[in-house]
């Protein structure tokens, strides 16, 4: 009703735009009353009416009413069930002396003092329309709330309402509950999907009650999609979910995992994968004489291959994924796939046999008429000088023996931690200071190659070594000392896993430090072959710690030995270290 106060003019004409209104949608309508603001303080309408041609009211929702000098704006939404027809839009005002709205002469309280009607064309909803279903991907094994957005939904308050919602899927795994038509543009519901539902599309339909003709319905397009529970597979078999049981693998053998779903229907894609793997794993280890390359395990790919480096049980491996629809919307509330592993390996150790010999060895020098040259050696060897044709033989200084393993091969890697050769000289017989000593070293680095070359392949559990120091170096030293420190690392590479073409990798087992420290003394008078070794045996196969098992926190390479280059020899002449 509109209320007019005394002294305010009544509008003499009025127009509305537009004059065609659509059922089920909010129509914005402008009412123009030249020179008079019917919603001003002098005039106000607290209700308007939309009626049929015969005067019956048509259900409609009104939005806020506001006005300016000569026009007003209202929102009007005929109910979705209103059929196509010509209606009348009525504006009225009345007087009310009690409310300080005096009545003109000849009228009484609540009499209509001003009225204007407008014919408007109502266009009924042709059918419900769905613009979106959110979310459009539904996780198997979960319950989730969805919102259906569209037009021309019929609410419960509508005499013919409400709209009905149904879902059908090939696997019979999807049901609906709590369906509520919130308004002509929105329906909410709860979707339930069984745990074992496969990846599939779902037919979601909204059906309006009959209005004139038969019921009208619409099917959501694109169709919502069931997003299945992920499954982890190993060697072609599912190892997560209901088929979960403890899996077993040997450290160093490849664990090649694939997952489902690999693809999704309805234009959805698996857009992000996330793995969480217990224990110490790597994707790849490669070592050669030039250095080491280690790759971290891929944790963001649909499939992943890695190796455990250390034995343990109860190693959980979990996987989740995100799904992205055709509009780029990502859903990341995936259920978790989980498998459990036990990584095993034999218990291995490394023992040393130490000859405890620091001897004066004699090797044949091919460049000097095959003369015998004296060397300070660890062990007792004979043969050619290093670099001459032929091979040395005899008793080595140290032998390192690995034991405990089966089903694989040992890999020895020796790192020279430091290696010094020091020569001191006697003072001249005629007096004066002794010449400064000569020093060779340090020679730190990878010893020989990767793996350590000093292993017989028909007895691959043993590594042999026997450093030696030349004593006849052109001059005649008084003493010659070799101070050699090395660490022998034991790795172990298991046999290839059956059923795969992917090779296993060596894994760290532990290390053994050892040293050879000895001095040869040149007995006077000077002579090329008058050498003796120190009385106190300082050759030692064990620096005290014995075999030290590897741990993942040993270094940044999880216990693998580190090297940047080969151990080599550099001799500085006349360099003294205080």
């Amino acid at each position: 009703m509109c209320h007019a106060q005394a002294g305010c003019s009544q509008p003499t004409s009025a127009t509305i735009v537009p004059d065609t209104w659509y059922a089920g949608v909010m129509n914005i309508v402008t009412i123009t009353t030249p020179n008079v603001n019917i919603f001003n303080i002098g005039y106000y309408c607290d209700s308007v009416d939309l009626t049929t041609g015969s005067g019956a009211e048509i259900p409609v929702t009104w939005e806020d009413i506001s006005g300016t000098a000569d026009s007003a704006t209202i929102g009007v939404e005929p109910a979705a069930s209103v059929p196509t027809q010509t209606a009348l839009f009525v504006l009225e005002s009345f007087c009310d002396p009690d409310a300080n709205m005096p009545c003109p002469a000849g009228t009484g309280a609540n009499d209509i003092v001003w009225k204007v009607t407008f014919p408007v064309q109502i266009v009924g909803c042709p059918a419900p329309a769905i613009t979106s279903v959110t979310p459009s991907g539904w996780w198997a094994g979960q319950q989730q709330d969805i919102t259906i957005t569209g037009n021309c939904f019929v609410t419960l308050s509508d005499p013919s309402g409400p709209s009905k919602v149904t879902v059908t899927d090939g696997a019979g795994a999807v049901t609906l509950s709590n369906v509520t038509v919130v308004g002509p543009n929105q329906i909410t519901a709860t979707v339930n999907v069984t745990k074992k539902a496969p990846a599939e599309t779902v037919t979601l339909k909204v059906t309006n009650p009959p209005s004139g003709g038969g019921p009208q319905s619409v099917t959501a397009s694109p169709a919502p999609v069931v997003l299945p529970v992920p499954v982890i597979k190993w060697k072609g078999n599912a190892i997560s979910g209901d088929s979960t049981k403890n899996q077993s693998v040997i450290v160093g053998q490849p664990v090649e995992l694939t997952t489902t779903p690999a693809t999704l229907p309805g234009g959805f894609t698996v857009s992000k994968s996330t793995w969480d793997i217990d224990g110490t794993t790597i994707k790849q280890y490669q070592g050669d004489a030039s250095g080491i390359t280690l790759q971290e395990t891929d944790l963001d790919t649909q499939n992943t291959t890695y190796y455990w480096l250390y034995p343990d049980s109860g190693l959980n491996v979990t996987y989740t994924y995100c799904a992205t629809d055709t509009n780029g919307n990502q859903i990341c509330t995936s259920p978790q796939a989980k498998a459990t592993y036990k990584a095993t390996r034999p218990t291995m150790t490394l023992s040393t046999w130490d000859s405890k010999e620091a001897t004066i060895e004699h090797f044949t020098e091919c460049a000097y008429h095959n003369e015998k040259e004296p060397y300070l050696g660890y062990g007792d060897l004979s043969g050619p000088v290093l670099g001459c044709p032929g091979d040395q033989e005899g008793t080595v200084g140290i032998k390192l023996t690995a034991s405990g393993a089966s089903g694989g091969k040992y890999v020895f890697v020796q790192i020279v931690d430091s290696d010094f050769g020091l020569y001191t000289y006697p003072a001249p017989a005629g007096g004066g200071a002794a010449p400064p000593p000569d020093l060779c070293g340090p020679h730190a680095g990878l010893d020989g190659g990767m793996p350590f070359p000093g292993v017989y392949k028909d007895d691959p559990s043993v590594a042999y070594d026997g450093p030696e120091l030349p004593l006849d170096i052109g001059t005649e030293p008084a003493t010659a000392t070799r101070n050699f420190h090395a660490t022998m690392y034991l790795l172990w590479q298991p046999d290839q896993l059956s059923g795969t073409n992917t090779e296993s990798i060596p894994v760290p087992i532990g290390h053994q430090d050892w040293q050879f420290i000895a001095t040869a003394f040149h007995k006077p008078p000077p002579g090329r072959d008058k050498w003796s070794t120190s009385r106190t045996p300082t050759a030692s196969g064990d620096e005290g710690e014995g075999f030290v098992p590897a741990t993942p926190s040993d270094n940044e390479l999880y216990g693998y030995p580190l090297w940047a280059h080969l151990a080599s020899t550099v001799c500085n002449v006349s360099q003294w270290i205080n």
Binding site: S290, D391, G394, D417, C440, T519, T533, T569
Partner: protein, 193 residues
């Protein structure tokens, strides 16, 4: 991905250790004798009387994990030698390392003009201070040896270099009783500026 190219452990010889070693009293030297069989015995494996080579040598540039045929001047130049046992028994694969180079093999490196490449100057002491090793190759199998050739030859001038390695066969002797030398293929590397 982690790549290690610069980390290593070093223990420094202290002055105290050097002094202690030099003050230890001497004892009479025991003459070295021919080794006898027993704990820690090592030596080359011999099968004398072979009528044909015991192995083949295949050479490629780079390491086992990284093939490379181009190297920057002054950088490390690696080659990999693969020796294959072509007999039905185990053969010797022993040798020694000195100056960072495997002495079991002979190296022939020539520049673009066919001249021998310049070698790194090494003192007699440096060349003799090293370690022997003892190993073998099982019948029909192969073993690889990676050699840092730039420890022995200077590759500081850009250009092409031609490399061949060889190794005397301990079991296959010529009519004069000398070990027959088995040669590898010849490879080409390029040194860039």
């Amino acid at each position: 991905m982690i790549t290690i190219r610069g980390a290593f452990r070093v223990k420094l010889l202290t002055a105290a250790m050097m002094i202690a070693a030099s003050l230890a009293p001497a004892q009479d030297a025991a003459p070295s004798t021919s080794p006898t069989q027993g704990e820690g015995h090592v030596g080359p494996i011999r099968h004398p009387g072979a009528s044909s080579p015991s192995f083949t040598l295949a050479l490629h540039s780079g390491t086992r994990n990284r093939n490379a045929s181009e190297f920057r001047a002054g950088s490390d130049v690696w080659i990999t030698i693969v020796e294959k046992n072509i007999t039905n028994h185990t053969i010797d694969f022993s040798g020694s390392f000195s100056g960072g180079v495997d002495n079991a093999f002979l190296y022939d490196v020539k520049d673009e003009d066919g001249k021998p490449a310049e070698q790194v100057q090494m003192s007699r002491l440096e060349s003799q201070m090293g370690n022997p090793y003892w190993s073998d190759i099982l019948a029909g199998e192969s073993e690889a040896r990676e050699v840092l050739l730039s420890q022995k030859y200077k590759f500081d001038r850009p250009g092409k270099y031609f490399i061949q390695v060889s190794r005397p066969d301990i079991d296959f002797l010529d009519k004069d009783g000398n070990r027959v030398v088995v040669k590898s293929n010849i490879i080409t590397i390029t040194i860039t500026g």
